[in-house]
């Protein structure tokens, strides 16, 4: 990087600043509102809070309505991400690398699921889960969430897997490794960056999931934060509990940022450690 000119440095710096500002200014507004004294919230015009207060945060932690929903959100998103990425990686490896009948059917099925409007699946899913006793439980949300995360996982992962230097796998096979060994010992470490990227996407999709969360839960037993926030808004017809919404929004954004920071280092390390060129 010795050859960088002042102009280049300035250009990248300006680009960084613009992108960060663009990404964060609506978020700042939510933060500002979350610290705004409830009395001032009738006027949302304040971009900078005039009276800073923790009132809204105290409010949402006063009852278990929000805290329990937070626990539900974390459990559902973490378990869904783990299972979807593991199952997705297995299928994506097969799709990208192996020759077997039924591959077209798999691709067809996952595309079908990725395309189907979720709205029309809610009523039948509700009936099934009521019958199986899964309604309003963690697994009642996790299982459908996995199913809806799998098409994206398989698609993204197989795109990654196709770019992996497969000569290494052949070399391992020449050295006497079985296809399974070749997968676990050689390819899986190379595939890690793609898997972490996919994990981020799946986690975020599940964390945000709203339609299923609101339809397949009925109590605090499994209701996630997005659904719980919707119930905040329904508390009064004339008064939007904007402060509570904003405070809850800020809190559920924190795990996302932690998660991204945590995995992002691994992604960068993975992508820059020469995995691509072998």
């Amino acid at each position: 990087m010795a050859a960088t000119t002042l102009k280049q440095r300035f250009g990248w710096g300006a680009g960084d600043t613009i992108v960060i500002a663009w990404a964060l200014f609506p978020v700042w507004y939510i933060i500002a509102v979350s610290f705004q004294a409830p009395a001032r919230l009738a006027n949302w015009g304040d971009f900078w809070p005039t009276q800073w207060t923790l009132e809204n945060y105290r409010g949402i932690f006063k009852t278990s309505e929000f805290t329990r929903a937070l626990v539900n959100s974390i459990v559902v998103a973490v378990i869904t991400t783990l299972i979807a990425v593991v199952l997705g990686s297995m299928a994506a490896y097969a799709v990208a690398r192996l020759r077997f009948p039924g591959k077209t059917a798999l691709v067809g099925v996952s595309l079908l699921i990725a395309m189907f409007p979720a709205i029309s699946l809610v009523t039948p899913l509700f009936n099934i889960e009521r019958f199986l006793g899964l309604l309003d439980t963690w697994w009642g949300l996790i299982i459908p969430d996995i199913a809806f995360a799998l098409p994206l996982s398989i698609y993204t992962l197989s795109a990654f897997f196709r770019e992996i230097p497969w000569e290494l796998e052949k070399a391992a096979k020449v050295d006497g490794a079985t296809p399974t060994q070749a997968f676990l010992r050689v390819i899986a470490p190379l595939a890690a960056p793609g898997m972490f990227t996919t994990a981020i996407l799946v986690f975020i999709i599940t964390w945000n999931e709203f339609l299923l969360a609101i339809s397949l839960t009925s109590t605090l037993n499994a209701r996630t934060v997005p659904a719980a926030i919707a119930f905040f808004t329904g508390s009064s017809q004339f008064e939007t509990p904007s402060g509570s919404i904003a405070a809850a929004a800020v809190i559920i954004t924190i795990p996302i940022i932690v998660f991204v920071l945590f995995f992002q280092r691994r992604i960068v390390a993975g992508l820059t450690s020469g995995a691509v060129k072998g």
Partner: protein, 311 residues
């Protein structure tokens, strides 16, 4: 793609039938491993969606209004005829099409710029990547609330700046819906594109530079062609998603002032009017529209669907 893989499949099967020991030990093991690896994913996907999809198709062929459950009756394609001859459907369809085309096109350009920035910038790479992921991480409903309040006259800071009530006019409201959608989902595009960028070998870039190619030429001739699979995957997924846009419109305008998408129309029929027959027909039509889009990408542009052999 379907053609190509189907051909491979049938060829393998027919040779399998003709000759008794058709596969080597290795090929058999590969086949078994393939099935074994796919089985869990397939089982979960089928278990959760097969019956609901079938049920939705069945409902779309029924006259089934929850307010008059006793009048439920199989009526074939009459629901489809009702929907397709209705101006509400076509209006919602074109609104959806406009939102999809504009937001995905803008997202591709913005997403590519952000991807390049995230990939190459000299400073604060981690901060940029984290900041850019925040819009995507925020719950859509909450982000939409933030926009809605910001644009509400007498309340929001953006409404004060613009001095009007842009959410109550069709054109500007659709514009704001597109803006909210772009803000929310460009990071998704950028992340997928960045992953594609990182697969472009640095040596090729350097070689092109030595040969005297400008930065723009290097991007167009070296980076873009190598990124084509990643770009098409990102485009396909975003287009499919954008066409089913729901949360943003629901919070911002609830479909008022002629801003409803086809999903809003379907939702209104299913959950407000409680007409399961018409609502299901609409959702099947959305599905068909989306399937046509996917087919255009895969057949028309040669999007690498998983399972396709590299050309």
């Amino acid at each position: 793609m379907t053609q190509a893989t189907a051909d491979v499949g049938t060829r393998a099967e027919s040779t399998g039938r003709r000759k008794k020991p058709p596969l080597s030990e290795g090929a058999k093991a590969e086949r078994r491993l393939g099935w074994l690896l796919c089985a869990p994913a397939v089982i979960v996907m089928i278990a959760v969606t097969a019956y609901p999809i079938g049920y939705a198709v069945y409902l779309s062929l029924e006259r089934y209004d929850l307010r008059f459950p006793n009048e439920a009756k199989f009526i074939g394609f009459a629901n489809y005829a009702t929907v397709l001859t209705n101006s509400f459907w076509w209006h919602a369809f074109f609104v959806t099409l406009i939102i999809t085309v504009i937001s995905v096109a803008v997202e591709l350009v913005l997403g590519m710029l952000i991807a390049i920035l995230m990939h190459r910038t000299l400073y604060a790479r981690g901060w940029v990547r984290t900041a850019v992921l925040v819009p995507y991480g925020i719950v859509t409903v909450v982000a939409a609330f933030s926009w809605q309040f910001a644009w509400t006259p007498g309340q929001g800071y953006l409404a004060e700046l613009s001095g009007g009530a842009p959410l109550t006019e069709t054109g500007s409201a659709i514009g704001l819906i597109i803006l909210a959608e772009i803000w929310k989902t460009t990071p998704f595009m950028a992340l997928l594109l960045m992953a594609g960028l990182s697969l472009v070998p640095e040596d090729l870039q350097k070689a092109a530079k030595v040969d005297g190619a400008s930065a723009f030429q290097r991007f167009m001739r070296v980076t873009l062609p190598l990124m084509k699979p990643a770009i098409l995957v990102a485009l396909l997924f975003r287009t499919l998603d954008a066409f089913r846009i729901f949360d943003n419109i629901y919070i911002l305008t609830a479909g008022a002032h002629d801003t409803g998408s086809v999903s809003i129309l379907g939702y209104d029929n299913l959950f407000t009017a409680l007409n399961l027959g018409i609502g299901s027909a609409i959702s099947i039509l959305i599905f068909i529209a989306v399937a046509i889009i996917a087919a255009l990408f895969i057949v028309g542009f040669g999007t690498a669907a998983p399972g396709q052999e590299a050309k």
